[in-house]
């Protein structure tokens, strides 16, 4: 008699842990603790559920143990194996799994009920349960396919297997498509309306599984079409939005199986994720509707027609000799080439000569928010040297040398003009420094696919090559001075 209460209270505690977890995750000092609290909450919820099942008699032990073991191994393996550059994709993938799981739970429940002849007669229970199943399916499948699309876009594209390798030993690369004529929005709208209509129809004919499968199909398609027109540069925002949706899907699943902890945790994540989405939009200087309904960025690479003579490490080392202030501006290229340790070594060399070194961190440098901070922290760069955009911009006019390593869009002066895909995005004013050194492999464009005038300015020295290799050569040259 007392058991269900104990488990209910256990669920309540776990919901409270989630709540505190989310709250702590949003502040730098408490974030690791926040994550741990969330994990404890989840562990508690699982244990309480198992205890409850144990009380009622476990019949599917193999299935349960197998599922848990399999999921744990795969999840842990992915989490451990992933490289830092691959993090955003992985988060998107996990998110898709979450949405998919919610949809599957709903599907399993409805099929099981139909099979067992346990369909309620028309009345509040039927309406509430079937609507919840329909909605958790709609949101869940959408999250699954949308997240998989987002993952592909975050990778930027893929190598076609079996094609001829080029001179750098790589196979043919295709970009993930970004395509969205204006009329696609109508299609998306119709799909949504059709799915909702199908949910209404499931109530009329609760035993008809066709409707259920149709909802799955339509909402899966909707997820794909939803992400298709959105440029890769906007993917973090989309993933955050999908994250919010996977929370909502979990909450609906909670209505399906009548469990409060799913409702609480799911809707909390749903709401918090939505707020985070807005915060991220603001950081990228965009509005959510603009992100979702106007295609932008990440698509076709422009062909570069202008040329610029490259410089060499020795020349750059000489320029850096005897200066008093140097700002290092890292970007995606530093992440790809894992140049952070070499960068840190260079900074140490400069500091030994009493040069003041700081790092200018653009909020969307790299491929996920905070990407640069993570990498530079890994290389033991002191936190105080990581300066945020606004602050570094006021320092740059007094800076002797700005070293831009693997960044492009985030220092592109065209953004100030307010036009084109980058228009209006705040940038780091690298061009205000006395000398600008840019380390990248070519003159080609960055994420947003926009040419960068900064490369062609007189004060700019281009150091063509892989980021890590060039930094190491630069360090060697500097030591040889």
């Amino acid at each position: 008699m007392v058991d269900p209460v104990v488990s209910d209270i256990g669920y309540l505690v776990s919901a409270a842990l989630f709540l505190l977890g989310i709250k702590r995750l949003s502040s730098p000092k408490t974030a690791p603790q926040g994550n741990r609290l969330g994990a404890y909450g989840m562990l508690l919820a699982v244990l309480v559920t198992m205890a409850k099942m144990y009380n009622e008699g476990i019949i599917g032990l193999e299935l349960i143990a197998g599922g848990l073991a399999l999921g744990t191994i795969i999840g842990a393996w992915m989490a451990i194996r992933v490289e830092m550059t691959g993090l955003p994709e992985l988060v998107a993938l996990f998110n898709g799994f979450g949405g998919g799981a919610s949809a599957l739970v709903g599907l399993s429940e409805v099929l099981g009920r139909i099979h067992n002849g346990d369909v309620p007669s028309p009345g509040i229970e039927l309406y509430a349960t079937w609507v919840a199943i329909g909605l958790s399916g709609l949101v869940g499948w959408l999250t699954l396919t949308g997240s998989l699309m987002a993952m592909g876009k975050l990778k930027g594209g893929f190598y076609i297997p079996l094609t001829k390798k080029d001179d750098r030993g790589r196979r043919k690369w295709v970009n993930f498509p970004t395509w969205g004529p204006p009329w696609l929005n109508f299609v998306k709208g119709s799909l949504l309306v059709a799915s909702l209509a199908l949910i209404c129809m499931t109530i009329q004919e609760p035993e008809n599984t066709d409707y259920i499968y149709a909802i799955a199909g339509l909402s899966g398609l909707l997820g794909i079409l939803f992400v298709l027109p959105i440029g890769g540069a906007d993917m973090p925002v989309v993933v955050s939005l999908l994250n919010s949706m996977s929370g909502i899907a979990a909450a609906f699943t909670g209505f399906v199986i009548g469990n409060n902890v799913l409702i609480i945790a799911g809707s909390m994540v749903g709401a918090a994720g939505l707020i985070l989405t807005f915060i991220m939009c603001k950081a990228m200087n965009r509005t959510l509707p603009a992100v979702l309904f106007k295609s932008f960025g990440g698509g076709g690479k422009e062909t570069v027609t202008r040329t610029k003579v490259g410089s060499d490490p020795e020349e750059v080392a000489m320029v850096c000799d005897g200066i008093s202030k140097c700002v290092i501006i890292p970007g995606y290229g530093m992440a790809v080439s894992q140049a952070q340790h070499a960068v840190k070594e260079f900074a140490d060399l400069l500091e030994a000569e009493d040069v003041e070194v700081s790092y200018g961190i653009h909020p969307v440098a790299g491929r996920m928010p905070g990407h640069m901070n993570v990498l530079l922290a890994e290389a033991n760069v002191p936190y105080e040297q990581l300066i945020e955009m606004d602050e570094i911009n006021s320092e740059l006019p007094e800076c002797d040398v700005a070293i831009v390593i693997g960044a492009n869009d985030t220092v592109n002066p065209v953004a100030r003009s307010g036009e084109g895909p980058l228009g209006g995005m705040p940038i780091i004013d690298a061009d205000k420094a006395r000398v600008v050194v840019i380390i990248k492999r070519s003159l080609s464009v960055g994420y947003a696919g926009v040419d960068n005038d900064l490369f062609y300015e007189d004060k700019t020295m281009m150091l063509f090559g892989d980021g890590k290799k060039m930094m190491n050569e630069l360090n060697a040259a500097f030591k040889d001075l």
Partner: protein, 108 residues
């Protein structure tokens, strides 16, 4: 599990309160934490694992798992990946950001 109106309204009450709570919880997040927060929240949304567990146990017919049991199994695997991978990866990110700082404090 017959659902009464009162129970439904109570659930909706909880739903609404939790949504409000979610809105209030997050107000200002520094950019560095956007990704870990997203990733951690995502792991929490794997709470659907509870549903998958329950259904993996119940949807049997004469002791044999039917289609819906296998669906629940698939849901369980997915949800577990989401939960375990999600919390671990978030932890890795945060260790990168914050852990280093702490170690430094101790070391130097």
């Amino acid at each position: 599990m017959s659902l009464t109106l009162t129970a439904l309204v109570a659930s909706i009450t909880v739903f609404v309160l939790a949504i409000f709570l979610g809105f209030e919880l997050i107000s200002k997040v520094p950019p560095t934490l956007h990704t870990p927060l997203m990733s951690g929240a995502n792991a929490i949304s794997g709470i659907t694992i509870v549903g998958a567990l329950i259904l993996s146990n119940s949807e049997f017919h004469n002791g044999n798992p039917g289609l819906s049991a296998w669906l629940a199994f698939a849901a369980l695997v997915m949800a577990t990946i989401n939960v375990v991978g999600g919390f671990m990866v978030t932890n890795r990110m945060l260790e990168m950001i914050a852990g280093k700082k702490n170690r430094k404090k101790g070391g130097h």
